[in-house]
């Protein structure tokens, strides 16, 4: 099985590397998303990114712009997806925004984005195929630029988390106390929302919704069941995500299944095992 995977390396190594880097990056960010009880904000942000890409493709078709069409549109569509994702993250991160609760805003963004993305491209011959591709996830199309982009984002994210870990945890545990010691919870919330939107927007374009959302929430949930202290989540979740992605890609290669989905299945199994372990230990 390992030998088969090694044999596939020359053909797919960019996809594998990008997938693993995205797993580490999103799992790191996912610790904050899970800790702040914002799991469904991650889903809404991913859907908003899909809508952004759909709108970009629609605009390319209507305007006849080559920037948003064809094989060279990858960067421009990623940018539109990122902008939509950031807007959604900022909108859903506000408490009581627009006269409703955060949950209401999250549900609104998720449903409106999911529906509009389909409607916008409903009459485009290749548009719906692209949306289906994004929703179901495929890491195979990752490029060398994706590898470098996500390596840089992962390095910056690790550095930021290392420098501000306790502040981030205090913000998650008790925003009132965070404000009392001089932090500005609204500012931090906005900064984290922009970071989430940027990373999710780029990850969506490279790997699709299922893989991106899976890596955002499942490794952090598994780590939360295995760790005794929250500071450990920041290394445990990325480690779990990386191991699951490696195992998932090897299994997918062996059984000729889609690697993104296989990695998420392995992550889901890891969460179930962590819950079972936790239950056994608590008893």
């Amino acid at each position: 099985m390992i030998g088969e995977f090694a044999a596939s390396w020359p053909l797919f190594h960019h996809a594998y590397l990008a997938g693993w880097l995205i797993a580490v990056l999103l799992a790191l960010l996912g610790v904050l998303v899970v800790a702040r009880n914002q799991i469904f904000i991650g889903a809404a942000v991913a859907q908003a990114s899909t809508l952004g890409i759909a709108v970009g493709m629609w605009a390319g078709a209507v305007l006849g712009s080559e920037v948003l069409r064809g094989d060279h549109a990858h960067g421009a569509l990623s940018l539109v997806g990122v902008l939509f994702a950031i807007a959604a993250a900022l909108f859903t991160a506000r408490d009581g925004g627009a006269g409703g609760t955060r949950e209401a805003a999250t549900g609104w963004v998720f449903l409106a984005s999911a529906s509009l993305a389909i409607i916008v491209l409903a009459h485009s011959p290749h548009g719906l195929e692209e949306i289906h591709h994004l929703l179901s996830s495929s890491i195979i199309g990752a490029t060398p630029a994706d590898v470098w982009t996500f390596a840089a984002l992962a390095a910056v994210s690790l550095a930021v988390v290392a420098a501000t870990r306790d502040r981030l945890l205090l913000l998650a545990f008790d925003p009132a106390m965070a404000a009392a010691v001089g932090m500005r919870p609204a500012w931090w919330g906005a900064a984290l929302a922009v970071w989430l939107g940027l990373v999710m927007g780029l990850a969506m374009r490279a790997t699709g919704l299922l893989y991106a959302f899976g890596n955002l929430v499942l490794p952090a949930i598994a780590a939360a069941s295995l760790c005794r202290e929250s500071r450990s989540l920041f290394w445990a979740a990325p480690a779990i995500a990386l191991v699951c992605a490696v195992v998932g890609f090897i299994l997918a290669n062996h059984y000729d299944d889609p690697p993104g989905q296989m990695a998420v299945v392995v992550q889901a199994a890891a969460v179930a095992a962590a819950w079972a372990w936790r239950r056994a230990v608590v008893r």
Binding site: V34, A35, R36, N37, D166, R167, L169, L170, A172, F173, D174, A176, M177, A178, A179, A180, V181, G182, M183, I221, A224, S225, C227, R228, E229, S230, R231, S232, L233
Partner: protein, 239 residues
Amino acid sequence: MRVPESPVLLAAQALSLGYGGVPVLRDVSLTVRAGEFWFLLGRNGAGKTTFVRAALGELAPLAGQLTLHPALRDRAAVGFVPQRCTPNPILPTTVREFVGLGLVGVRVDAAARRERIAWALAHAGLAGCETQSYWTLSGGQRQRALVARALVRRPRLLLLDEPTNHLDAVIERGVLDLLEGLRREEGTALLLVTHARHLAERYATHVAYFHGGGVEAGPAAALLQPERLTGDVAATEAP
């Protein structure tokens, strides 16, 4: 021979506070010195928490001044105990980690960090609980952990927003005794928001009554006299 007065840690002068330009409190003047135990009394919405938010730097004055002692301006020696803390239950944490989060914004090395956490836990009556899961603590112990999280900053000024609201009488008295010990032994100045007048009668050195958009402040012995109590204050909660 004149006894030197304790240093002024917090002073409000003709202070007005409010939200969106609409004042909640007007013309508040009071001076908090080291070693004083202030009880902020008054009905809901009278402006007690607004005053605490301003003291923590979260709310800018509409008018007047609110000044901290220069040694407190970086807030490293200012502690705060919120009314309640309800972390996301998915977060795993030990008592040590929870209390250690109180050190955010305080520069200490690893050894000093351990020493401060041990000191705070001992003072909060949680010695030996360092490695215990926060989620296995009782309600009273969690409230003590909140106090320990504030104490770990070694605060010279400690603000508490109804810290005993959800506790039974025995645990409430334990927390208040802990705070009183801190005041006497460490000279910490305490500002405690509460509705409980009976606690003020037992522990307060000074009282600030919030009513009618203003504050009546002074030594507890003078202000807690029955004939000095306004209708609002007399109506605050008795044991």
